[in-house]
Each structure stands twice: as structure tokens, then as C-alpha cells.
């Protein structure tokens, strides 16, 4: 049946009914109830149909038309829209009393999709309560909330105006270095720890919520303690959408099982830690030119896939020590993550303090490759030659231990150059001092036992020295480059090889030491150019 036939065959009574419908339609437009003494059938029908369709169509319409005009707030001048989020609109306005520009977030009433007025009211009260709790939070890296109120049925709160850009934007524009990024997350982690101690959880940590203050360049975390409630306030999972990508697996599981009560119960310090790790991981700059494609997260299945992608991105692009920190945050088991945000901050801080020798001695890498490595090889060769020619024993001792001189000289020099890597320098100093003292002690002991056999003493000394080196490299693998453990294992093997290759063991030792030098110079990121 087409409309034209309907229109043509319209009787006069239909036309009267249509005129009546115009009145009803206008009344509905004005949102005025149509007052009739005795509502007729058509009025009741009209009201009912209009209400049903309007309820379903209004969310789509408000998304498309976006015509909501800003409310007028007491103490504030005209509101200027600066952004839109899942739960409301963010405005900027100047406060008459304080003469300060504040950011104001207004929760749009048409976004509240609650079945009954009662739950609506209840949620609104809880929201205000939560705002008040969040307003108590005070930290230099958290956007403070000033005021909470209600106007025309809209809940609003004012907070410090931070113009941005957000961490997300900066990482997208590649306007942030890895170290600055880690320092930013470290500060945010400290802020979160301070607030966790007040018993407030954030629940929506993501790069979009970390804003940089334009004046001080300080990273600021916004929306504290409001995010989770906001999604409940909406009565749907709208706000969860932006966050699924940074959401801990236990929360995703709670959503999957469709138990909102579980979702609230499962939220913990550990889920905030996960979000911090995911935030850091997702904004890490890629080493190659290819950018990290953030796959869209539509549902829990995608969240799982994205977690895998994220871990992969971190292991490929981050320094192994930093990757270890991130991966620990992203553990599936909440217990396996950091217990507190401050522990995470400590680890990030110690990563930032990692030794960067090349910054202190710009050409240290080349010194290692082209001076130290040949020097060590030569020292081995000279020991072998001196032994063969039967030169004085003191000259032999000097040839054996001369290679320590440049090492200690470098460590000594670094003391006056830079204070940044003080802890690492002290550790290296004691480790290598230990190596030197132990080697001299071994050589002396062996010489005492084999007083008349110099050749045998030297044959015994080199495997022992290799074993001591093995211990040293294993000790270094804990706090320095992880591959030192492989070098340690190689030296343990070398100890056996040197014992077998008796007459030429000094030469072999020199070659092994030279190879180690080159491998360290090439592989250890502490020697990398910054």
C-alpha cells in the first residue's frame, strides 16, 4: 500500500483526525502533556506510540544532531564546548568569583538510560558522592575537582582546566621520547599510589586521560574515580568501550559473564596497575618506521587478542629491562603483577637511572672495540711469548694483570664525569675490583703450591681466571644487560677449554676476552648512542 493511494482515498473524517493529530504532534514536540478531559482512543494511542519510538530513537538522534545547548551554571560565564566523552560534554568557562578558567563536565541527561526514575535518582546520588570523594584527592599529578552540582537535572562538576595535549596525542604525533614517556608514567604511578592509599581507584587509566599542562609540562591524570561509576550511571557499557583496550583480563571476564556486580567487586589496585602497564606499552615508540596498529576493540574476544598484540609490541620495541617491567604489569594473574603502584614507579625510576656509559664517554664503544679488545688479545699473546722466551717472572705478572689498568682507569674517570649512573658505577667498580683481587689471590696461591713450575702455574691460572669471569658476568646479568648470563655461561665453558688447550691457554684467553669486549660493546644498550 503506497501513501499516495492512502492520501487520495482519505475521507473527511480522516482529515479531521489528521488535524487533531497535528495538535497532538505539536504538543509532543513542546513536551507538554496534552490535557483532555476524557482522553480519546487516538490520544492514548498517539501518546503511547510517540513515547515508545521516541525512547528508542532519541539516543541515535542525540548522537547525530548534537544540538544540546550548554546549561547555565551559577558563578560561571558562558560555557564553551571543548570536548565530548561517552558520558557527557566538557566545557570551558570562567568562574566569576575566582576569575579562573575551569573545565566543566556535564553529564547529559539523554545519555542516562535507566529504566526507572528511582534507580536514576539513586545513581545520580551515588555519582555526586563519588565526585565528592574524588574531590578530596589531592596530588600534583591529578586534575583536581573543585565543585560538584546539579542544574536542570544534569549533574556537573568543575575541575582544573588542563588544555592538553594528551599522552595519546603526543605519542601519535611522535612528539615524545621513550625516556620522557617512562618518566611521565612513573609520575602518574606515584600519583595513583598516593590515591590508592586513600581507598579510591581510578578504573579508567589510559593515554587519553593523561593530559600535559601547557605551562608546566606536567603530566596530569584526569577523571579520577569517576570512570567506572560513569559507565554504571549510563546504564550500559558505553564508557567501557574506550577502555576495554586497557582493561585487566579479570574485568573483561566479568563483563563477558554479564555480571556488573562482579565487575565492581573485581576492580582492584591490580587492575589499575594493569591499565598503567597497558598505557605505557601502547604508547611506546616503535623502533622501525612501521607504526603500531591499535586494533579496534569491540568485545572481550578482541580485548584478548589486543593483549597478545600489546605484549608482542612491547617485547619487540622496548629495552628488555623495560619490557620486563611492562610485562609484569600485564600479567593475566592479578597476584603476579606489582602489589602497589609505587613498586612499579620504583622499577621505572631505576630503569631511568640505568647506566648510559656512552653519554659519559661519547666514544667508549669504539675504545672497547678498537683499543681494549686488541689490547687484551695482545696481553694474552705476550704472556705466551714471554713464557716461551723464559723472561723474568715479574714481567710475566705485569703482562697478565696489565689489562686491568684501562678498566679501572675508565671506572675511576667516570666518577668525576657524571652522577646519573652512580649506583651502577659503584656496583661495576666492586664487581671488577673483586675480579681483580680474586685473580691475583688465585695466581699467588697457585704459585705458592707450584713454586718450581711456572708453566704449570700459568696453565692452572687461566682456567681459574675464566671461572672467576664467569661468576662476574652472571652477577652483572641481574642488574645490567640480561645477555651477560650467556657470556657468563660461555666463560664457564671457556674454563674447560682453557684447561685442555694447555700450552696456548694465554693466547686463547686473550682471544676470548677480546671477543667478549666486542660483544659487550655491540650488544649492551648502556653503550648505545642516545
Amino acid at each position: 500500500m503506497s501513501d499516495s493511494t492512502v492520501d487520495k482515498s482519505k475521507s473527511s473524517s480522516d482529515e479531521t483526525a489528521d488535524l487533531h493529530l497535528v495538535e497532538l504532534e505539536r504538543a509532543a514536540e513542546q513536551r507538554e502533556p496534552f490535557h483532555a478531559v476524557d482522553p480519546t482512543c487516538i490520544e492514548q494511542e498517539h501518546l503511547r506510540y510517540f513515547a515508545i519510538i521516541e525512547e528508542l530513537a532519541s539516543p541515535i538522534r542525540s548522537a547525530i544532531s548534537q544540538t544540546a545547548s550548554p546549561p547555565t551554571l551559577p558563578d560561571y560565564g558562558p560555557l564553551e564546548e571543548v570536548g565530548r566523552g561517552g558520558m557527557g560534554v566538557v566545557y570551558r568557562a570562567s568562574n566569576h568569583k575566582t576569575n579562573r578558567i575551569d573545565a566543566i563536565k556535564v553529564i547529559r541527561p539523554d545519555r542516562i538510560a535507566c529504566s526507572s526514575q528511582e534507580t536514576n535518582l539513586q545513581l545520580r546520588r551515588r555519582f555526586q558522592l563519588e565526585c565528592q570523594l574524588a574531590a578530596r584527592v589531592s596530588h600534583e599529578h591529578i586534575v583536581p575537582i573543585y565543585q560538584v552540582g546539579e542544574v536542570d537535572g544534569c549533574t556537573w562538576f568543575s575541575m582544573q582546566y588542563v588544555a592538553g595535549p594528551s599522552l595519546y596525542e603526543r605519542s601519535r604525533q611522535k612528539a615524545i621520547q621513550q625516556d620522557e614517556l617512562v618518566r611521565c608514567v612513573e609520575r602518574i604511578a606515584r600519583a595513583i599510589d598516593a590515591v590508592h592509599q586513600c581507598g579510591v581507584l581510578h578504573g579508567d587509566i589510559k593515554p587519553q586521560n593523561i593530559l600535559f599542562d601547557q605551562e608546566t609540562a606536567r603530566p596530569m591524570l584526569s577523571d579520577f574515580g569517576l570512570a567506572e561509576l560513569a559507565s554504571e550511571f549510563n546504564g550500559n557499557a558505553n564508557d567501557i568501550t574506550g577502555t576495554l583496550a586497557y582493561m585487566a583480563p579479570e574485568l573483561v571476564e566479568a563483563i563477558r559473564s554479564q555480571r556488573t556486580s562482579d565487575f565492581v567487586a573485581v576492580r582492584s589496585v591490580a587492575s589499575d596497575i594493569f591499565a598503567l602497564g597497558a598505557t605505557l606499552g601502547s604508547v611506546l615508540p616503535t623502533r622501525s618506521m612501521a607504526t603500531f596498529i591499535t586494533s579496534s576493540v569491540f568485545g572481550p574476544e578482541d580485548a584478548e587478542k589486543r593483549r597478545g598484540e600489546l605484549r608482542n609490541h612491547i617485547t619487540v620495541n622496548a629495552d628488555p629491562a623495560l619490557a620486563r617491567i611492562c610485562i609484569k604489569c600485564l600479567a593475566d594473574d592479578p597476584v603476579a603483577r606489582y602489589a602497589t603502584a609505587s613498586q612499579l614507579a620504583d622499577d621505572l625510576a631505576s630503569w631511568l637511572d640505568r647506566p648510559r656509559w656512552n653519554q659519559h664517554f661519547p666514544s667508549l664503544r669504539y675504545l672497547l672495540c678498537f683499543v681494549a679488545a686488541p689490547g687484551l688479545a695482545l696481553s694474552g699473546l705476550s704472556v705466551w711469548l714471554l713464557q716461551k722466551w723464559g723472561v723474568n717472572e715479574i714481567a710475566l705478572w705485569i703482562a697478565i694483570f696489565v689489562s686491568y689498568v684501562p678498566l679501572f682507569a675508565a671506572l675511576w674517570a667516570s666518577q668525576s664525569v657524571h652522577r646519573d649512573s652512580e649506583r651502577a658505577r659503584r656496583e661495576l667498580w666492586s664487581i671488577w675490583l673483586g675480579h681483580g683481587v680474586a685473580s691475583v689471590a688465585c695466581m699467588t696461591a697457585i704459585r705458592i703450591q707450584n713454586a718450581d713450575e711456572l708453566a704449570r702455574s700459568i696453565a692452572l691460572f687461566y682456567p681459574t681466571c675464566a671461572a672467576i669471569s664467569s661468576v662476574v658476568f652472571f652477577a652483572k646479568s641481574g642488574n645490567f644487560w640480561y645477555a651477560y648470563r650467556w657470556i657468563g655461561a660461555a666463560w664457564a665453558l671457556a674454563a674447560i677449554v682453557l684447561a685442555v688447550a694447555n700450552p696456548i691457554s694465554p693466547v686463547l684467553f686473550g682471544i676470548f676476552a677480546a671477543i667478549t669486549c666486542i660483544v659487550v660493546a655491540k650488544g649492551d644498550s648502556a653503550f648505545a648512542d642516545s
Binding site: 492512502v6 492520501d7 544540538t67 550500559n236
Partner: protein, 189 residues
């Protein structure tokens, strides 16, 4: 056809009218004639067909999300290539508006298969309504879309349809009646 492919075909058939209504809503009356909603939906479904392997493996919610995303790209592409020879500032503006609208719509639909059952039901009803709009006669459909989805007043709708206000009010009422009937039917099933 294998079972997942069958499922995908059913899914696409189910969402075709929903996408049509969304596209018709997005494309403002000024653009009609230059950009055809049905062509764009057809293109979107064709793309979905080409990606059968990828889509057959996922659930209905994600498929719907995928289709919306693809539709968004197609609508934006169509608007961009409109008068492509001229650098029209209004076109850029329109594109950003449409992009923003799709983004907002996404906020309502995304995670629809993950949320509390009450919301799932509501989303289901919205989807049913959007699909049912396509079964209305042409004038009723346009009237309902303009009035309820684009938020125009009775007078504006009447002007757009070049009908009297009383005739438009009748169209709207009958259109809503039919939609409510469809929603009730769907509720009983």
C-alpha cells in the same frame, strides 16, 4: 555453504535494513540524489562478502560493528568524492560532522554483546526499530527518519515532503503505529 558462512549470510540479511536506515539518516537531505544510501549499503555488504573468512569466525555483535565501520568509510568516501574537483570547505566540514556522528553512534552500539542484559535488550529493540523503518512506505519512512532520527519539527518534515502538516502528522502517526506493532511482534517471538 558451510555453517559459519550461512550464519554470516543471515547476519548480513538481518543488518541490511538497519544499515540502510543509518545511512539514510546520516546522509542529509541536501546530499540526496548525489549520494545513494542503498548503493553505499550494497557496497558495504559486498565488502563484507569479500571478507567472509574473517567475519565468519566472529560473533553477531562484532559483525554488526564491522559493518558499521565499513559503512562509515563508504559514506565518508562518497561525500569526499562528491565534487572532488573543487576544494569545497563545506564538504570537509560535512565529512567531519558525519565522522563525529558515526563515532557517537558507535558509543551506543559498541560492546552491545558484552553489557548487562537490560542494555542488550534495548539495543536489540533499537536495531529492530531501525530495520522496521525500511518496511514502511517511502513517505512514512522519510517522515519518521526526519522527525525522530534527525530531530526535525513537524513543519520542517512537512516542508521536506512537500505535504500539508496534517497529512504529515497522519504519516507519522501511522508510521509509528506500524513500528510499535513490529516491535511488539519481535518482543513476543
Amino acid at each position: 555453504m558451510t555453517e559459519p558462512q550461512n550464519k554470516l549470510a543471515n547476519c548480513m540479511e538481518k543488518f541490511r535494513p538497519v544499515l540502510l536506515t543509518l545511512a539514510e539518516t546520516m546522509i542529509s537531505p541536501g546530499l540526496r540524489g548525489n549520494v545513494e544510501a542503498s548503493d553505499l549499503v550494497q557496497l558495504t555488504l559486498l565488502e563484507a562478502h569479500r571478507n567472509t573468512d574473517q567475519l565468519a569466525a566472529i560473533g553477531e555483535g562484532p559483525i554488526f560493528a564491522w559493518l558499521r565501520k565499513a559503512l562509515q568509510h563508504n559514506v565518508l568516501d562518497a561525500v569526499k568524492h562528491l565534487k572532488a574537483q573543487k576544494n569545497d570547505i563545506r564538504r570537509t566540514l560535512r565529512c567531519s560532522e558525519i565522522g563525529e556522528s558515526f563515532h557517537c553512534i558507535e558509543q551506543f552500539f559498541v560492546a552491545d554483546d558484552t553489557s548487562p542484559s537490560q542494555f542488550v535488550q534495548r539495543n536489540e529493540q533499537i536495531t529492530t526499530m531501525l530495520a522496521a523503518i525500511q518496511d514502511l512506505p517511502a513517505n512514512q519512512r522519510t517522515a519518521i527518519i526526519l522527525k525522530h532520527l534527525r530531530g526535525h519539527s513537524l513543519k520542517e518534515v512537512a516542508d521536506a515532503l512537500q505535504l500539508s502538516e496534517s497529512a504529515t502528522a497522519g504519516l507519522l502517526h501511522r508510521g509509528r503505529q506500524q513500528l510499535v506493532q513490529r516491535l511488539e511482534q519481535a518482543g513476543h517471538e
